[in-house]
């Protein structure tokens, strides 16, 4: 059924608070690096799949069209997919169906975000994600929905702030070994607990930063993949699901959409026991508690158990189930769509044993990357294996 699809090359720019480069230029840098990484040229690329999140950041309407030449699509079939924060991981699913359909041998997947353009601060652009009639008049802040969800999660499972702060500590320290990282730092639990309160229970160091950056990966069908690399990383499964927009009617302590997306991806990958068949995970961590919630949604542990897993060191880079060995969004940075694709890039390096100083201790042949977004409602999951 379908054709096997592999990732054969990756590239990424540095993630920075404000880049000199335009969005087009960031896209080009990442694309070129991905092509070079597997010795391919643009004329060997059949089509381009682009992912980028809100147009308001860049202040560019039809941002996909604007970025298209930077992403190498001139004269090629080109589409931009968009599922909010879930876009980065979804773009790999989009690329997958381009190739798995048999219509293309290769697909360049590019994700870009330039959040610094919006002035005075990208945060304000988020006002427009809320319902224009029932919510925007209350002048909501993006922090609200995270804080509301975090509080609900902590209340439902009786968690303390330090249980959650461990995630920020782990990821920001992991990122010290990531050459593209924006905010790697040797922080401690105390640093997190003493950082500025933004929207209780959310504090400054619970949150990933605003970033500019781009990531690109190259997908190929089996015959091309075998030709260009000895170590293709296979897309074993992908899944996505979008829950109802009525977010105030949902129980915010658990991400149903992530579970639904994971079920789809696991089914495709033949994963029946995720806790043992998945060896490394890159769940979406724009806020520290999100990593915990997503580990539960990915069914890598029971509901409410992820904090304990973290406290026990299971999710450390030398643990039994390394989680966000890259440093995640909390450490590497969060250029939204690009951050999701960065997770896929990390799995590529980890599964090929090429992650250098970041290489996880245990042997890993299968990993999962996941992103999430919209109004806490979309889950996107990719299972990779070698």
């Amino acid at each position: 059924m379908g054709n096997r699809v592999a990732i054969v090359g990756v590239g990424m720019t540095k993630f920075v608070r404000r880049a000199l480069e335009t969005g087009k230029e960031l896209s080009w840098l990442a694309s070129k690096m991905a092509l070079d990484s597997c010795g391919m040229t643009m004329d060997q690329i059949g089509c381009v799949a682009l992912g980028t999140a809100p147009d308001t950041f860049d202040g560019v309407h039809m941002k996909g069209e604007y970025l298209s030449d930077g992403a190498g699509c001139w004269g090629k079939p080109y589409m931009r997919s968009y599922v909010g924060g879930g876009t980065g991981v979804f773009s790999v699913a989009q690329g997958w169906y381009h190739v798995a359909s048999g219509m293309f041998d290769t697909c360049l997947v590019v994700c870009e975000e330039k959040m610094s353009t919006f002035q005075p601060h990208a945060q304000a652009a988020f006002l427009t994600i809320f319902d224009h009639t029932t919510e925007r008049p209350l002048k909501p802040n993006l922090l609200w929905i995270f804080a509301l969800e975090m509080n609900r999660y902590m209340t439902a499972y009786g968690l303390k702030k330090e249980d959650i702060a461990r995630v920020a500590v782990k990821n920001k320290n992991n990122a010290l070994d990531h050459p593209a990282a924006q905010i790697a730092a040797p922080v401690t639990i105390e640093d997190v607990l003493n950082s500025e309160v933004l929207a209780w229970p959310v504090q400054r160091l619970d949150v990933s930063p605003v970033s500019d950056g781009a990531v690109a990966v190259i997908l190929a069908n089996e015959s091309v993949a075998r030709r260009v690399t000895d170590k293709p990383v296979w897309i074993e499964g992908c899944g996505w699901a979008l829950d109802t927009a009525y977010w105030t009617n949902r129980d915010l302590c658990y991400s149903r959409c992530v579970e639904e997306a994971a079920r789809m991806a696991y089914k495709m990958a033949g994963v029946t026991d995720p806790r043992h068949q998945i060896h490394v995970a890159e769940p979406y961590d724009p806020f520290d508690y999100k990593e915990l919630q997503h580990l539960e949604g990915l069914m890598l542990c029971g509901r409410g158990e992820a904090a304990q897993l973290t406290a026990d060191g299971v999710t450390a880079r030398d643990g039994e189930l390394p989680v966000c060995p890259s440093g995640g969004l909390l450490g590497v940075g969060n250029p939204i769509a690009a951050a999701g694709l960065m997770k896929v890039a990390e799995l590529f390096w980890q599964l090929r044993g090429e992650a250098g100083k970041r290489q996880i201790a245990r042997k890993a042949t299968r990993g999962v990357a996941q992103a999430w977004g919209d109004l806490m409602q979309v889950g996107t999951v990719v299972v990779l294996g070698v």
């Binding site: 990424m12 000199l20 480069e21 960031l26 919510e135 070994d177 933004l198 009525y246």
Partner: protein, 187 residues
């Protein structure tokens, strides 16, 4: 102008410049600092988008807003799944059929979750926190909440499960908007 550095002082720790020990080995992108702008090292073009909208309220939200103007919270009912929903919608999203009628709900509810927010939507720091909350409305099905603000309460004393009641604008000032409720106070 961009906000000052968003992270703690330790945030600018960089990996060693020579021979990084992990991929990506040569990531490019030139980070700019506030100084680069102050000293005119980089130029920018500025643009204020002229993008304005007037959204049609529609059947369901239109009637909801009319209810608010009268000081009432209205919900809708689906006979198939027996849910009473708020905010109202013209169709039941789970049964995919038109809803079966309107129900007047209480203007009281229970705090499902809340936050104490010290930053406004446009990233201005405030001394007294705003208290956004998801409030499950009495009379609607379990778990049916709306987002609104709490007030008339010491923020430190708010808790999940707290019973609250709507504080309405005076009738003459109501205009058929979600802001016709000023905030929700402890019951």
């Amino acid at each position: 102008m961009a906000k000052p550095k968003a992270q703690s002082p330790k945030s600018e720790v960089q990996s060693p410049k020579s021979a990084p020990a992990a991929p990506p080995y040569h990531p490019i992108a030139h980070g700019l600092s506030d100084d680069d702008f102050k000293h005119g090292k980089v130029c920018t073009t500025r643009w204020t988008a002229d993008a304005r909208y007037a959204w049609d309220r529609g059947v369901a939200i239109g009637r909801y807003l009319d209810g608010l103007k009268q000081g009432k919270l209205l919900g809708v009912r689906c006979a198939k799944c027996a849910r009473i929903m708020i905010p109202p919608r013209a169709f039941c999203e789970w049964c995919f059929k038109p809803v079966d009628g309107w129900v007047e709900l209480e203007d009281t509810g229970v705090v499902n979750t809340f936050s104490l927010c010290y930053v406004t939507w446009d990233v201005k720091r405030v001394k007294e926190p705003q208290v956004p909350a998801v409030i499950e409305i009495d009379g609607a099905s379990r778990g049916m909440g709306i987002m609104h603000l709490l007030g008339g309460v010491d923020p430190k004393k708010v808790f999940c499960g707290m019973k609250v009641k709507a504080v309405w604008k005076p009738a003459a000032e109501r205009e058929g908007a979600i802001t016709d409720i000023l905030y929700w106070k402890p019951l």
